[in-house]
Amino acid sequence: MYKNLESYLEEISHFLSDPGEREEILSEIRSHIMEKIEHEGGPVTEGALEKVIATYGRPRQVAEKYLDGRPIIAPAFTRHLFRYASLLFAVHLVFIVFAVIFKKSFIVFPFLFVPRLGVIGAVLYMPMAFLADFGAVAMMLYFITRSGKEIKLPWPKFALDLDEVKATDAKTAAAQVATMVGAGIMLALTGLAVTLYIKYQTIFFISTNFSKFRPLFMPAPGRTLSLIVIIMLAAGTLGLLVKLFTRSRRIACWVDAGADAVALVLMGVVLRQPYANLLAVRIPPALHSWLHITLTVTLLFVALMIAVDLVANVVRLGRKRLGK
């Protein structure tokens, strides 16, 4: 029993997955190493073993040669892995938004469990959700690879790849002018909103006659909602300005994803606002529930659109990185 040889073999064994073959392979390697020392004329000593082991190869490298190059997931499924994971995550995201809005947990057995979440909790939960989705898809592809069967997987079209977007389309002179005009308008709107907020602590009015100022919302929710809109406007303006000064589609995509993430969080805050004592104006009681439902459905729809756009941007960024 030679300590260095046994420790080398043990390290190799960590990389050999098939328990049936492991012992046999290790015995073979032990025998080959001993043969080499004997052939080279020297007695078998720890020192002689050290030299032979050094030339034999690193444990992982040696083990890999025995693994027959079998991948855990067939290389042909690499794109499926990312596409399916992002689609599953998009569905997951919808349930996360629902969990925040309706203050309920959701279970879609056996794939999804979304606990009741607050806005901050939802933001922290998202990376875990993505990892769970990625793992579920990876496991499915692992079993398909292992089966060795010719299984044709569907190829859902969702979100263009960054390299599928033609550079010429993205950066024509007209697009540049449109971005510039858009940035100008957004900048003006942000400035106006900030000015109004400084003066009245709200940006929502029911009259344009400022001598008879009448706010739409009660003071506290009015301030919160105004600040949310100002942040959204500022994020949109910043995004357009960045796009104006960069030619990189990757940076533009990061900016869009960032703006989406900020908007999603803010939409969550808006949806959490209590409806009672929200409005500062009188509305006929019959209209109250209708207005509440309409507002909630509209905001929910906007939140979903933002969520889908966020997922699409994240998918684009992930795919580009994968292709590098």
Partner: protein, 112 residues
């Protein structure tokens, strides 16, 4: 360039080494003896390439491995099987055909 040559050589060696092993194992041999025999022929093979290959050939039934337990310590000998001989004949045919094609194309190129 050297790197690229090395990587293509590795690919070419993969098939050639299988054929060489099936040819050499007409006589029983153990692993390190084969490495030495190849080296004497001017053909360098890394041990951690040859031994896993022997194992794969054994799993496919082309080579038979036998532990010799009578000596001071266990030693594994290898020999070609009847299925290995059939495979060898097929591979030699392919190899000859490929050789003829290359020679023919090189000869034709000289006339251009």
């Amino acid at each position: 360039m050297d790197n690229e040559l090395g990587s293509i050589e590795t690919e070419m060696k993969r098939g050639f080494l299988q054929l060489l092993v099936l040819v050499v194992l007409e006589k029983d041999a153990y692993g390190y003896a084969m490495v030495r025999a190849f080296r004497d022929l001017g053909y360098e093979v890394e041990e951690n390439t040859l031994y896993p290959l022997l194992r794969r050939l054994e799993k496919r039934g082309l080579v038979q491995g036998k532990w010799e337990l009578s000596e001071e310590r266990p030693r594994k000998f290898y020999a070609v099987t009847p299925a290995g001989r059939d495979m060898r004949a097929g591979l030699l045919e392919i190899w000859k055909k490929q050789d003829e094609i290359i020679k023919y194309v090189i000869k034709e190129n000289k006339h251009v």
